[in-house]
Symmetry: C2
Subunit: 330 residues, 2 copies
């Protein structure tokens, strides 16, 4: 039985790889411009056995930021939208929120007002929407939201607002022996709830910000409970720290889109041997959004300077991508 | 090239799986007693497609404690021995240690004296031996130690003091689609330095205690630096928390040997569907050590009661294992 299953799997893997290799193009949604050429050249280089640049499969680690790199992040981070939707769903049980900041402002959709209280306000919103349940319960809440909530501009499910070229890139890297990880500033369990289905990235390959979790007995049953307290912030300098903690190896390729990814790209490219760093530059106001140095969401300023100084690859979404979202292809 | 490599890999994997399946016994160092039968029955049960107990490959997560479960832990945890060896190596640069507790006692081999100061003393020893360098530098220090330090009783390298039956069990589970993780109270980077070579477990599948790490620029180069401050303790209730943080799925099988593993086994077996929990009971004073309820190292007391109450599998090392360490086979 084991043998037959393995045989089937082997033949299937072989068939897929042969058909992938015979296919004209592993990255069909990418124009034949610089970024695509740079990606293919990098992969060709590190997979050539018996050359100095060859990288063994076990060390082919690639890390991807999520917001703005794998899916859209406008008009605000989708996890914020989830939190506001969650507040609205819980509001009937919390009549006091109508008169309590930051909830009152948030429930009215007044984001400026909601976040006016800074980090403590954000912490209260996070506590009210992300804590007080088991990871399994939170997983269910996020899945239900992802299966029904719609983006205000496109009317699509948020999980449909992923980038088709990046899905192809994930598949292309995995077909070449890479293990692909998400390294996001978003909360780790929020991403895990849908990343396997949407990106093919399993929970154990998601690195993110996290809140404290404790183990306790609940009516004789051991459970984990999510507490209203930050545990780790996986952004900026937190990204290399989170990568080291979860993966224990330095990536050979890293992909981001904002200043929050700068340290991840710096640390990745500072490793020995061939390294690859890429930034997605949002330049397409028609098909997506155009923003960079002055955007409050996904600001790309210092990292753009660093990319120019160090020769990192920069994707110009408007000119380098044939398609942005998968639904454009239907 | 990619196709040829994949073809070779597929054929090799297939050949290995066929020869493994044809071999009479995937667990040759286990006697045909209860534990071996229970392990094989569990694996058979969750791998039968089209049955209610079938578990998809992605959910086949198995977690293993390290000290006393995968390698020996007497006369004291090997990481303590590493720390003492490291203190001795650094002592010439720290003449003040000769008169400063807990270093003075530790350098004399007086462990009782060294640990008399409790947690603060332990923290000082940890800081002196595990912090102040990059993860890469620490990795090199541990590798050098593992390649040369010898166990006081057997004269073997510490990495030779792993359990042959557990190596077979790891391979058997992996051959049946399991992803195998270490979940240890030991420091995560200490284990990562040799776990891939010794157990075939890559760094990203090691969960452990950790110290704080920060990202900083060192002469213009970005580095991570290990700080003399605990970050996370992966023992007792910390094990389920660490598993959730790193893996994001509840294991379907967990393996331990002491009260420090109790919560991991409780949480694992509280999941829905078929679950497996096993304790290694050290009962062989001739080939290894015999200890349980009153041992300061690897105490097995409450977890042994829980195993009896819940029907978890308990390995009686003396009677269930033909061989303890691989070197007995040579």
């Amino acid at each position: 039985m084991v043998v037959r299953t393995l045989l089937c799997k082997c033949l299937l893997a072989l068939l897929l790889s042969v058909s992938a290799a015979l296919a004209a193009d592993p990255l069909p949604s990418w124009n034949d411009t610089g970024p695509k050429k740079a990606i293919v050249a990098f992969v060709d280089r590190i997979t050539q056995e018996d050359t100095p640049d060859f990288v063994p499969v076990a060390q082919r680690i690639a890390t991807f930021d999520n917001d703005g790199t794998l899916w859209s992040e406008q008009p605000m981070y989708f996890e914020f939208i989830f939190a506001l939707d969650r507040l609205r769903a819980l509001a009937p049980q919390h009549p006091e929120w109508k008169t309590t900041p930051p909830f009152a402002a948030a429930l009215k959709g007044d984001l400026k007002g909601a976040f006016a209280g800074g980090a403590p306000a954000l912490a209260r919103l996070l506590a009210a929407t992300h804590a007080g349940m088991t990871p399994e319960e939170f997983d269910r809440i996020v899945r239900d939201w992802a299966a029904s909530a719609r983006h205000p501009k496109t009317g699509r499910l948020y999980t449909e607002m992923v980038y088709q070229p990046m899905l192809e890139l994930l598949a292309y890297l995995r077909a070449n022996g890479f293990k692909t990880f998400i390294v996001s500033g978003g909360e780790i369990e929020f991403i895990r709830a849908w990343a396997e289905k949407v990106y093919g990235i399993p929970p154990e390959q998601v690195v993110g910000s996290s809140i404290k979790t404790i183990y306790q007995m609940r009516s004789g049953t051991p459970v984990l409970v999510r507490l209203p307290k930050m545990n780790f912030v996986s952004d900026n300098a937190g990204k290399p720290v989170g990568i080291n903690s979860h993966i224990g190896r330095r990536p050979i390729a890293a992909f981001g889109n904002s200043d929050g990814d700068l340290e991840m790209l710096q640390w990745t490219t500072a490793g020995q041997g061939v390294r690859f760093a890429l930034l997605v530059h949002h330049t397409d106001s028609a098909r997506e959004w155009a923003y960079d140095r002055r955007s409050p969401i996904g600001r790309l300023d210092k990292a753009l300077d660093a990319a120019q100084a160090k020769g990192w690859t920069v994707v110009d979404m408007k000119n380098d991508w044939k398609v942005i979202h998968p639904f454009e292809m239907k």
